[in-house]
Amino acid sequence: MSGSVLWRFVGKDLHFNRGFTAGSIAIGFVGLAFVHLGPAGTMPAITLLITALILQAVFVCTRSIVAERKERTLAFALSFPLSPGQYAVAKVIAATASFLVPWVVLAVGSLILISISPIGHGMVPVSVAAWLYFLDEFCLILAVSLCTDSDTWIGLTIASMSVSTSFFLYFIQRIPSIQATMSGPTALWSGALIAILAAELALATLILALLAYRLARKREFI
């Protein structure tokens, strides 16, 4: 029975997050529309896409995890027949699903646009690296939201997310093997790029493993 209660909590969070998820997708689509303007539209497109995804990651975690503690709805949630561990699993599933919906829609949208727009296919590997970077950032804010009550840590994480995204995009374009191929007509997956993608996936796995370890050792949930 507690399994079905867990899925009801997942459904509850998806229901509460639905408006913002739709908003993030809309902002992202506006960003994608700028891609049609060619090189002049690249910057606004990237800015709007980053904004949409960071907003979604922050909203999902702060509204459905941090706010439940601050607005004292956590005690109500935990009065249901599920353990704090199951509650945390429900939060991870719901937050990840809420984030992945615009992430997948916008990632696929951007890749389709790149493939049909004047921008060369050489941008595809860089875009994939950028999308995985957003996924890492989401995993980080998710883990911090579930592990700490500290506004300072959550604030620092959000600030570091937006700053580090700019740095990531700046540095990845300056890696010689990537720089040489990113404006080309075909997608080339260099060794450096494959290493970055592997590192990004490993980082997401590490963050989620550390989160699971931390939650398993947690002794107080309210």
């Binding site: 709805t73 005690a75 009065s79 249901f80 027949p81 353990s83 704090p84 002794r219």
Partner: protein
């Protein structure tokens, strides 16, 4: 000598207590805490032992910061104790808390509903998780508490919020109701409404209630067992009738130069000169007779209210721990 009785004996409570003991012997206690300890930087819950029998209503009384909410959080599985064993409805806590919580209705003063959702949404959500949800009873409570289902939780006043949480807990038809300071901040009318509903529930002998509060008047009306907690320690736990029967305040008149003999169970002696007021937690008619044999005249024997007993217990416990 006169005798005042602010809390009249109530045979139904006595019968309920006896029935609860019989059920506990048959089915085991609803709540069992054994040697439970939990340490925080500035607070320690020490060796908490507690039993609640099926059908029993326990008033869990303590000053602010005494450890009531920590104890309740431990038995709900929200907080893991450092030491000790906890069983609720036969399930070990926190390991099997999900199974136990299927039959628990929990309302806390610190708890809030989801602000953006309506009360109707909450009712549907709770109903979907509890097969025993009683929709008819929920409707009746909506009317009785004057609540509107279409109202979002964010728009509810504090009193309405408490009543809404109580509705959501009661309509689950739980075997155990855990109420952590639910009356805090309620106006007198709302308190009356909530207490009246609880009084009705008390008539259901199969249901157990743990009711924590620092307001003894609320607890006194519905409880048949009382547990006092102070500074993280359970200082006394007994059925209400026994409390009220054991505690007395004796007004004594002493002869000139007379001194009071020392009797076991005397918690406090006040006054000076010829008049003394003795507070005891072990009253028997023999105590008055013993004072009279020592030359004192017993002018009055007063029953004590639960609040007076609570304050006297806490002060005596603190004096003892200082000594």
């Amino acid at each position: 000598m006169s005798e005042r009785t602010p809390n009249g004996d109530s045979p139904p409570l006595r019968e309920r207590a006896a029935a609860a003991s019989a059920r506990a012997a048959e089915h085991g206690p609803v709540i069992e805490l054994d040697g439970v300890e939990k340490s925080y930087p500035y607070f320690r819950l020490q060796d908490v032992r507690m039993r609640l029998a099926p059908g029993e209503v326990m008033g869990f009384i303590g000053p602010n910061g005494a450890g009531k909410s920590t104890t309740i959080r431990i038995l709900m599985g929200f907080v893991r104790p450092d030491r000790g064993e906890v069983r609720v409805l036969g399930h070990p806590i926190p390991a099997a808390q999900a199974a136990a919580k299927r039959h628990i209705g929990y309302v806390s003063e610190e708890m809030r509903l989801f602000g953006q959702a309506t009360l109707e949404w909450h009712m549907r959500f709770v109903a979907s998780s509890y097969p025993g949800w009683d929709a008819g009873y929920a409707k009746m409570l909506l009317r009785r508490f004057d609540l509107r289902p279409e109202q979002t939780a964010r728009r509810l006043s504090h009193g309405q919020h408490v009543k809404a949480m109580l509705l959501l807990a009661l309509a689950r038809r739980p075997r155990l109701l855990v109420l952590d300071e639910p009356m805090t901040g309620l106006d007198p009318v709302a308190r009356h409404e909530v207490l009246s509903e609880l009084m009705d529930i008390v008539t259901d002998e199969g249901r157990s209630i743990l009711f924590s509060s620092h307001h003894t008047q609320d607890v006194e009306q519905i409880s048949d067992r009382i547990t006092f907690i102070d500074r993280g320690r359970v200082i006394e736990s007994s059925d209400k009738e026994t409390f009220l029967e054991r505690w007395r305040r004796l007004h004594l008149e002493l002869p000139a130069g007379g001194a009071l003999p020392v009797h076991p169970g005397v918690i406090d002696v006040r006054g000076g000169g010829r008049l003394s007021i003795v507070t005891t937690n072990a009253f028997t008619p023999e105590l008055g007779a013993a004072y009279e044999r020592a030359g004192a005249r017993v002018r009055e024997i007063q029953h004590m209210t639960l609040e007076e007993i609570f304050v006297a217990e806490v002060m005596a416990s603190r004096k003892e721990s200082l000594a």
